[in-house]
Symmetry: C2
Subunit: 456 residues, 2 copies
């Protein structure tokens, strides 16, 4: 029996974008009826997934999004797969429900991307992708239990975090990928510091390489063959080669897709139909700096989009839309935190942006005799003409995870190095760098010096 329902706002999906969307809509439209339809009862915290495999979390159970419970009291949550959406008639159908809506939000997320050449390999029982799904993550975790030699393909942050967690519990890990890890987010001299930590943990880095072929025997993968004919043996292969927007449903509903396959949306996350929105990894994204289509998939981006959509559902309330992703993110490798926002120096060159850089390395406490003092470095990328900050990288202790948010705010607010150098920053011996050598400010000063000397 198909149940017929009527709702004001229908959200398809159960990830962070859906959650933020609903929370924001509840705040701005408290009188509207909101219905969420999602395929699985329990959703994983996506960025927590790598930590399920090591000792940090240790189980999928510990990575369940807790936010569902309070929401369930005011929002109708249906567990089912939407099969068809009729946008003109404002109706969605699943196996058990027929739902009519006023506003529709796609928050259908993304699915692992694997190069077509490896699609067959994924049928082998010891080849895995990292799927944001409790059962599949548990399956991979259980499979890893008694295995020793692990191959991780892909050096984005998911690959790097999983490799590190596995090395920490004694696995023999090889990671394969681009010229340096976390490419796109860090320039070489920054990334190499993370690579050194991984090597010290005993991880083998096969960089500057692509995996060309999965080797197999008796229906089990035995390793991979690299471009240069090196053979890497392993008992398990984990593909961390990115994600692609999950847009089958949107596509069959007739919505236009953007380059890279996301659902086309305007700055307020509206599709061509003003009553239909898309947020999160399933939406088509642009880059904040270059305005080009972007493949970035980050919770920071999704949450921001979802907030914009959440308050724009019934009309544009604030003329502040989502202005493109600044690709802001942070991760911890060993005891060091690596954080990045905006463009790197390398990317500024590729994109032909007339830029200068400013770097500074100091200490994260003051004086340096404070017991837990360690190095902290900041690299800024700025427009040469105006000094506008367009990118930043921070390496430090845990505080770097929040320092990058100061830089993100500077980038989004289009501040210049001149704005930064007179900034008032709270400094405290046990918590921060010295007021005299606060790295963000010192790096901004270098930007100005460089841009003066380059102009002469």
């Amino acid at each position: 029996m198909i149940e017929s329902l009527k709702t004001d706002i229908l959200v398809i999906g159960g990830g962070p974008a859906a959650f933020v969307m609903v929370a924001t809509a509840l705040e701005h439209y408290p009188d509207k009826k909101i219905t969420v339809i999602k395929e699985e009862k329990q959703s994983l915290v996506p960025c927590g997934i790598p930590y399920i495999f090591g000792k940090t979390l240790g189980s999928a159970e510990k990575d369940i999004m807790a936010c569902g419970a309070p929401m369930a009291e005011v929002v109708a949550i249906l567990i089912d797969k939407v099969l068809d959406v009729d946008i003109d008639n404002k109706q969605a159908k699943s196996a058990n429900y027929e739902i009519s809506f006023e506003k529709l939000v796609f928050a259908t997320g993304s699915v692992p991307f694997v190069h077509p050449v490896f699609e067959d390999a994924l049928l082998l029982e010891n080849c895995f992708t990292v799927n944001k799904n409790v059962e599949q993550i548990e399956k991979l975790k259980n499979y890893l239990d008694d295995k020793k030699k692990i191959i991780v393909i892909g050096t984005g942050f998911i690959g790097v975090e999983i490799a590190t967690e596995l090395a920490d519990i004694g696995k023999d890990v090889t990671i394969i990928g681009g010229n340096h890890i976390l490419a796109g987010s860090f320039d070489y001299e920054m990334a190499v510091q993370a690579e050194e930590i991984m090597k010290k943990k005993g991880i083998t880095l096969a960089l500057g390489q692509h995996a060309c072929e999965v080797l197999k025997e008796n229906n089990l993968a035995t390793g991979v063959l690299l471009q240069d004919d090196t053979q890497i043996n392993g008992e398990v292969i984990i593909f961390c080669t990115g994600y692609k927007p999950n847009t089958q449903l949107a596509q069959s509903a007739g919505l236009k897709l953007a380059r890279y396959g996301g659902i086309w949306v305007d700055e307020y996350m509206r599709t061509r139909n003003k009553d239909v929105f898309a947020v999160g990894d399933c939406s088509g994204r642009r880059d904040f700096i270059t305005r080009d289509p972007s493949k970035i998939m980050l919770a920071s981006t999704s949450a921001s989009e979802a907030r914009v959509a959440g308050y724009s559902l019934y009309g544009l309330k604030y003329l502040k839309g989502f202005d493109g992703t600044i690709a802001i993110f942070s991760t911890k490798i060993g005891n060091r935190v690596f954080a990045s926002a905006g463009v790197t120096e390398e990317r500024a060159k590729e994109e032909n942006i007339d830029h200068v850089i400013g770097s500074f390395e100091g200490l994260n406490r003051h004086p340096g005799t404070i017991p837990d003092a360690s190095k902290q470095s900041v690299k800024l990328v700025a427009l040469k003409s105006s000094g506008q900050i367009i990118g930043g990288q921070v390496i430090g202790d845990k505080e770097a995870g929040e320092m990058i948010n100061t830089l993100g705010l500077a980038i989004e607010s289009k501040l210049t190095a001149h704005n930064i150098i007179s900034l008032q920053v709270a400094t405290q011996p046990l918590l921060t760098a010295a007021p005299t050598t606060y790295p963000i400010i010192k790096a901004a000063q270098k930007v100005i010096e460089t841009s003066i000397s380059k102009t002469i």
Copy 2:
């Protein structure tokens, strides 16, 4: 024999303001000769002083400003006390030198302020102020060595930090002061969390009280008498009752003083004489929000002023002066960090600012099962009409020390709650709150909700 010297830039003082001033001038005017004249060879890191008394640093030696060494190579550093400045003839005199200059910078800092009623008490050998001077700090530290019962008068951050450090090494500490500790920087419901931690450390809090009299016997203080006639006994009394600008020299040179006794300066830290600057605690300050004269003395303020002066010495380079102090600061009490910027709710009321507040408490990791997760709360104060952020308070783990700098940037950039809610923030399980419940954004959403409901 008095030595005659000629310099381009003469800086009087040896604290952080002088140091930042010189570093900035070196970057912007590399061809100018810079001379620093200061009274003591070694300068203490001012905000490190409380940590000399406990186990964190444990000695004055470990709190020496390290920045002197590299500077000494390019800057002339004289150790002497300036006795007289002739501004018209551009000459300064000390016991050993007669220095002619083009530009003069006062960075003479501040000296402890003690209510006149206690001036006599300071002559007793067991009554102390917290002077930014190696010898005097060492004297106090040595004196404390075999004492048990300590009285700290004053509940500003110096008093609170010293009390906490002393309690941590087993002293029996009583702290006396206003209605709640760190008043001015925190609203009651925030401050009370710090008070609870201090109580758990065994510190006695005599709040809502003033010390009226120091009791003495045989030329030694034995305790203090409070307003309500309570008598507190102690073997040592430490006065942490603030500082006042050190402006004797400037005053006798004929410079105008501002209210509260600092040297009057414009937005570029220039006195009425365009060749004479004042930076740091000795300068007259205004409040960023209310534009009123301000008594705030913080390294964050001093460093920002010194940067502005440093690049404005030979003309205004950027039309971005020092726009008043946002009183941004942070401290750690026990395992919790308390950070504040701009105005509190209490002060907004006193100043008759038409405001709304937004508060949110969440966790500093996500999911909450991450081993070192702890509570994180943010309180924002904003203008009701526009949502412009005018104040923020953060309580959390060490990361709160950098989160406040994001709020400081928002306040200085005059951003509104609407700018904040669509912000892209880097979130990472091991480092930050969840993207779905990032406290700064959630607090900004509460500001908007409240301001909507208050308008209706």
